[in-house]
Symmetry: C2
Subunit: 207 residues, 2 copies
DNA sequence: AAAATTATTGACCGGGGTGGTCTAATTTGT
DNA sequence: ACAAATTAGACCACCCCGGTCAATAATTTT
């Protein structure tokens, strides 16, 4: 909605978005300080209220911004044509890792939103959340080739366990490399390690 | 250290501790409000500063309180004589679940502490953290019977995967039953489901 | 070049919350 | 009955809050 904001140089726009996401995701809506935001963004106080009429409008803008970003930059990137569950999940996890590195506060911000009580959220935001969750769910479980799994194991349970495993691994990695730019991380070593875990999972759960 | 506080009726003492932990774990040290604490604890403002001379002293008291509680109430309860990794982890997970339910803010509070930058923490607190982490690590990995694992799988990787799986399951459960008293939860059904996951893990990773 | 429009800053506002104090009242112990 | 321990909350000076606005600088239009 805010016209002047969209005409801004990308870099300044990003600085404002980034500073806002950080502040909101660290403190929540009420506790977040617009003063802190403008300071971190390196702009004057007046500008923030020139681009957005008030705190709430900024917040709502960020909600939509993050939803679109996660949708286009992460969920939609998942390769639905890959029938191997573990391989599809591998690709999704790697995407998530780089996405998280490039947009450090987006997931945390959305996390805060999803923990917000129903009454405090605009009605259509709730719907957006559910839609995105549904799409994300489909992107992971749709058109999976179940015949790869061992017959003596409940396939759904196996998929749950694999999902928890890979999420746990990814979170451990995020934790260790927190703050460091992923470009500086030894990617080959990391990918190799990841592959080893995946191979182990395949031995354990596949025929 | 605070003499009058220890002589308090257990129930009031608990109310104060609980309200403080909640506030600190939700807002962090600086943002936490002593006014909010006394309101939630149902005591007058004066009392808090009668028991503890200032905010920091309360905070430090809580740190020690939580460390001791986690150590005695959770870590030390893990049965080191159980050589089956999955079984030991099962017992630990169930303990953690009930502990978490009885002390809802303790883990979150300690989580905040561990994310605090080094300079802001008393020196001996850092040491306490590392000690507890070491003990917890030992409690999970010491004297495990590795011969139970399949020979065609890297045992350490298998244990990592199992750990992530069970942590993921436990977190999902916590999430779903968040807020509800665990006494009201259908424990048999939950235990059964947990066992099914564990059995699946055994089929997958054990000989 | 002049005028009009847009972009930008930061001092400023009333209001509300901050950690902490202190007085005055009540309860307890003897 | 009296002293000591316990309690509540009004009060303090201070700081920060979201938001405004007048002054100016930069840019665009004429």
């Amino acid at each position: 909605m805010p016209k002047p904001f969209h005409n801004l140089e990308q870099e300044k726009q990003q600085r404002i978005i980034s500073a806002s996401l950080q502040e909101f995701s660290e403190k929540g809506y009420e506790q977040a300080s617009t003063n802190q935001i403008v300071k971190n963004a390196g702009i004057g106080k007046g500008m923030l209220f020139y681009y957005f009429n008030n705190k709430r409008e900024l917040y709502d803008y960020l909600i939509n911004y993050c939803f679109d970003l996660v949708h286009n930059g992460y969920v939609q990137q998942i390769d639905l044509s890959e029938p191997d569950f573990i391989e599809r999940f591998r690709q999704a996890s790697m995407n998530k890792l780089t996405f998280f590195n490039e947009n450090p506060f987006v997931f945390n911000f959305l996390g805060i939103i999803m923990l917000t009580e129903d009454e405090l959220l605009p009605h259509d935001t709730r719907k957006k959340i559910e839609q995105l969750q549904q799409i994300a769910y489909d992107s992971i479980y749709k058109d999976i080739d179940y015949s790869l799994f061992r017959d003596d194991i409940d396939t759904q349970k196996a998929m749950d366990l694999i999902k928890w495993s890979m999420d746990g691994y990814r979170e451990d990695i995020s934790q260790v490399y927190k703050g460091e730019d992923i470009a500086n991380v030894n990617m080959e070593k990391l990918t190799l390690e990841f592959t080893q875990y995946l191979d182990t999972l395949k031995i354990a759960f596949y025929k």
